[in-house]
């Protein structure tokens, strides 16, 4: 029970990553009194990401210094509802961030918009191929919002974050050199594309020769100097090769710090507390609204009740769902009955890759940036005949060195021993001689891929851990095997000295050990039917109208792209509804 009650705020924000910073900034501009609660540490470019200390692969990439510490917060995992879930005791498969900036500090910066068909995937599949092709237990859903509706908000986020890229479709006009398969956009990217690394040029040339349509990856790594909507300045990227798992020392990689927070912190009506973990969203007696949140103030060791008129849930997607379950906001999903909404439709990301080694090519892989590189979308969702291929989904295919860190980014040809004289010879011979073509793809949600509360394991506050039930399914394995065949066709035209592919195959079990992707989505999904979604199309809780839930927890199934672009766009979309429709008259919308 709370030992302290603080003065009421208009808005309390849970989590100060991308969406918390966006909501804070825009609602502070409305004159509201705002408090953001962040359970991790405070973080700023200087001193936390400064040169040269940030260039420490062991500390940040291997020991996860900027990530969530499982000792403080984790979840349990099982493959199916018959298994006993066990704790994710140290990080591997996915790396939730904590601290100010959240995962927006340590991302690579690949900033995509979903394709138009992805927002209405169930409708698109039914209209185009017939409902019969949807596998049993695949819970395909529409988002309840369209690409056209989200377009201005995607543009706003790209403008704030400062995205470098080349448009492929401006208001329906296909643009040379961009992605011809993207949803129409209203404007060119804020910045021109980054410089290409040689490996991505080789890939693009090979793809072009095969009739595909290569374009630069949309990058949250600044290609030029840039000042955004909030007066925040980004400096051009110097291709240091330390994006993924690191903070940017150069004010080049878009993060909440670089793009929003230093401006937000100057606002007198905004304040934030670190080391303040929200334990529960408190509900009014009638259960229809929240009264505020109870959080643990680590600095004083107190439980604090923070009253607020509006509660914005802006933590990492998994933690959003955990907090809703703990707060009993929305009926928990039950995979046995298929009823309930909170925890429904967890999904992940299906990735694979083919590496190529060239004895006579020197790539300097340490010259890289998190999102630079070239991609093709010729095998994306809108381009695949799901009926013919026997799966629902798609991938973008891409190449580009993001870094050459020797502990974790040492690609060695197949047959190289894991240790001994042969390994040592190989690292000397092959470091810097490889390129990799990756497939980054969709992952569908199923009746049993879900999140609920674990019956056994507790966190440090005595609350049940969240339990993840997830495994790979045939549909998604067929999708990645399709991509493998396409990528190997491209790769072979480059005549490498050696080549190796890594894709999920038949019978693959989800393995929490190797890093795969931090694109955990779903669990508090958006939609137009309160029976199958936890939040409405404006990201407002169906159950408590003054609780709004941001982030990738809203995705009904995973897109084929990295989620941050859509997460940012959805935040601005929700803000418009909040500002124009909700704040003047607080109530359930729609």
């Amino acid at each position: 029970m709370a030992t302290r009650t603080d003065p009421k705020k208009d808005v309390v924000i849970i989590g100060l990553g991308w969406t918390g910073a966006i909501m804070g900034m825009e609602l502070a501009n409305e004159g509201l009194e705002i408090l953001a609660l962040e359970r991790g540490d405070d973080r700023s470019t200087v001193p936390d990401f400064q040169y040269p200390n940030i260039f420490d692969e062991l500390k940040y990439a291997v020991r996860y210094d900027l990530m969530q510490k499982p000792v403080n917060s984790t979840l349990t995992v099982r493959h199916n509802t018959a298994e006993t879930a066990l704790p994710y005791r140290h990080l591997g498969s996915f790396l939730p961030g904590d601290g100010v900036g959240g995962a927006g500090v340590h991302w690579n910066g690949q900033n995509w918009r979903p394709q138009a068909v992805e927002y209405r995937l169930r409708s698109y599949v039914e209209e185009t191929f017939g409902a019969d092709i949807i596998p049993e237990n695949m819970q395909l859903q529409d988002w309840g919002v369209t690409a056209e509706e989200l377009e201005p908000h995607m543009t706003k986020f790209e403008s704030v974050a400062g995205i470098a890229g080349k448009a492929g479709n401006i208001n329906g006009e296909i643009q040379e050199g961009g992605n011809p398969f993207e949803a129409p956009r209203s404007a060119e990217y804020p910045m021109p594309p980054l410089k290409n690394t040689w490996d991505s040029e080789l890939f693009a040339e090979a793809a072009r020769k095969m009739g595909y349509h290569p374009f630069p990856r949309p990058a949250a790594n600044a290609s030029i100097q840039y000042t955004n909507d909030y007066g925040m300045q980004l400096g051009p990227c110097n291709y240091c090769g330390y994006c993924e798992r690191f903070g940017c020392n150069n004010y080049s990689k878009s993060s909440p710090q670089v793009c929003i927070l230093d401006a937000l912190k100057r606002k007198p009506n905004f304040s934030y507390m670190t080391r303040s973990e929200v334990l529960k969203i408190e509900k009014a007696a009638d259960g229809k609204t929240a009264t505020g949140v109870t959080y643990f103030d680590e600095k004083t060791g107190e439980e604090v009740f923070q009253p607020a008129d509006l509660v914005l849930v802006c933590a990492y997607s998994l933690h959003n769902v955990h907090l809703l379950l703990l707060s009993e906001i929305g009926e928990p999903y039950n995979p046995d009955t298929g009823e309930g909404v909170v925890g429904r439709n967890y999904s992940y990301q299906m990735t694979g890759g083919t590496s190529l080694w060239f004895r006579d090519k020197v790539f300097n892989p340490f010259v890289g940036t998190g999102a630079g590189g070239m991609s093709i979308d010729d095998f994306s969702m809108s381009q695949i005949d799901f009926g013919k291929e026997g799966f629902i989904g798609g991938s973008y295919i891409t190449a580009g060195h993001t870094g050459g860190r020797p502990i974790q980014q040492m690609a060695l040809p197949p047959g190289t021993p894991a240790w001994g004289a042969g390994w040592k010879e190989a690292v000397g011979e092959w470091y810097g001689h490889s390129l990799s073509i990756g497939s980054h793809g969709s992952n569908m949600a199923y009746r049993d891929t879900c999140l609920d509360l674990d019956p056994t394991y507790k966190d440090r506050h005595g609350r049940p851990l969240m339990r993840m039930t997830f495994d790979w399914k045939d549909n998604d394995i067929r999708m990645t095997q399709f991509m493998k065949a396409r990528i190997e066709e491209i790769a072979e035209t480059l005549n490498p000295d050696a080549m190796a592919s890594g894709y999920k195959g038949d019978g693959a079990q989800y393995d929490v050990r190797p890093y795969q992707s931090t694109h955990n989505v779903g669990g508090a999904i958006m939609g137009t039917d309160p029976k199958t979604s936890a939040i409405n199309r404006y990201l407002q809780s169906w159950d408590c109208h003054n609780v709004w839930v941001m982030g990738a927890s809203a995705f009904p199934q995973n897109i084929q792209y990295n989620p941050t672009g859509a997460v940012g766009g959805l935040a601005y979309w929700a803000l418009e509804a909040l500002r124009k429709d909700y704040l003047p008259n607080p109530r359930p919308l729609m």
Partner: protein, 235 residues
């Protein structure tokens, strides 16, 4: 951090204290102009912070087979990898300080569910090494460090394949040992391994330079500068 002329070498200070050398004598030993690097103590005189003598003998021998000296490139011993592992096990990694270590535990669970041992990495090294040593004695006739190289390789292969009778809570031992050895080979030298950045020089990694603005897109051009460490040292 660059050492300033005429100022005590911080790098020397750190190495000296690790070696148990009297600090006062070091400051005076640093020359006014180009500060000379203090040679670290030989590995057999290194003052350990975690391993006991028997463990140290094993880790020295094992590292020497996982990344042997001879041939092209430095070996793990040349790079002082055992020092790195010793310090890692004494620190947060060895203590599993950031890991979720609440029970109940099911160390024999499906490995795809990840680490499930109740033991920390440091405890796993401590408990697994004697088991492996006994296995080496029974199977190959002597303790690991006394075996000839080919038998050591065979024993490590058996360890890697899970054939030496380790209890489930120790089953990650080889993976820790191998991963820590490679980490010590390639991590910044401040952690005690990658001595003189030899492993970075060998593969051509420039370390903490961190600025390559004019380099993207160059075809088949080898980056010309050698590595720099976080403390400013250059190889």
């Amino acid at each position: 951090m660059r050492d300033m002329p005429g100022r005590p070498s911080r790098r020397g200070f750190l190495k000296g204290s690790a070696a148990g050398v009297a600090i006062a004598s070091l400051a005076g030993a640093v020359k006014a102009q180009a500060p000379e690097k203090e040679a670290p103590p030989p590995l057999d005189q290194y003052e350990r912070v975690y391993f006991n003598e028997a463990e140290w003998a094993f880790v020295m021998a094992a590292c020497d087979r996982l990344i042997p000296s001879g041939g092209n490139g430095p070996g793990a011993i040349d790079c002082r990898v055992p020092v790195f592992i010793d310090r890692q096990l004494a620190g947060n990694f060895g203590k599993a300080a950031t890991w979720y270590m609440q029970g109940p535990f099911d160390p024999a669970a499906n490995p795809t569910l990840g680490f499930q041992s109740p033991l920390t990495p440091a405890e796993i090294y401590r408990q697994a090494i004697p088991v492996f040593q006994d296995w080496c004695s029974q199977t190959h006739g002597d303790r690991f460090e006394n075996l000839e190289a080919a038998k050591q390789d065979a024993a490590l292969t058996s360890l890697q394949k899970g054939e030496v009778g380790l209890a489930p809570e120790l089953r990650d031992f080889f993976q820790f040992l191998l991963a820590n050895t490679k980490e010590g080979y390639f991590a910044d030298p401040s952690y005690g391994g990658n001595h003189d950045m030899q492993a970075w020089v060998y593969v051509g990694f420039p370390g903490a330079r961190g600025a390559f603005t004019s380099w993207p897109g160059r075809e088949n051009a080898r980056y010309p500068l050698g590595p720099v460490a976080i403390n400013g040292d250059r190889a």
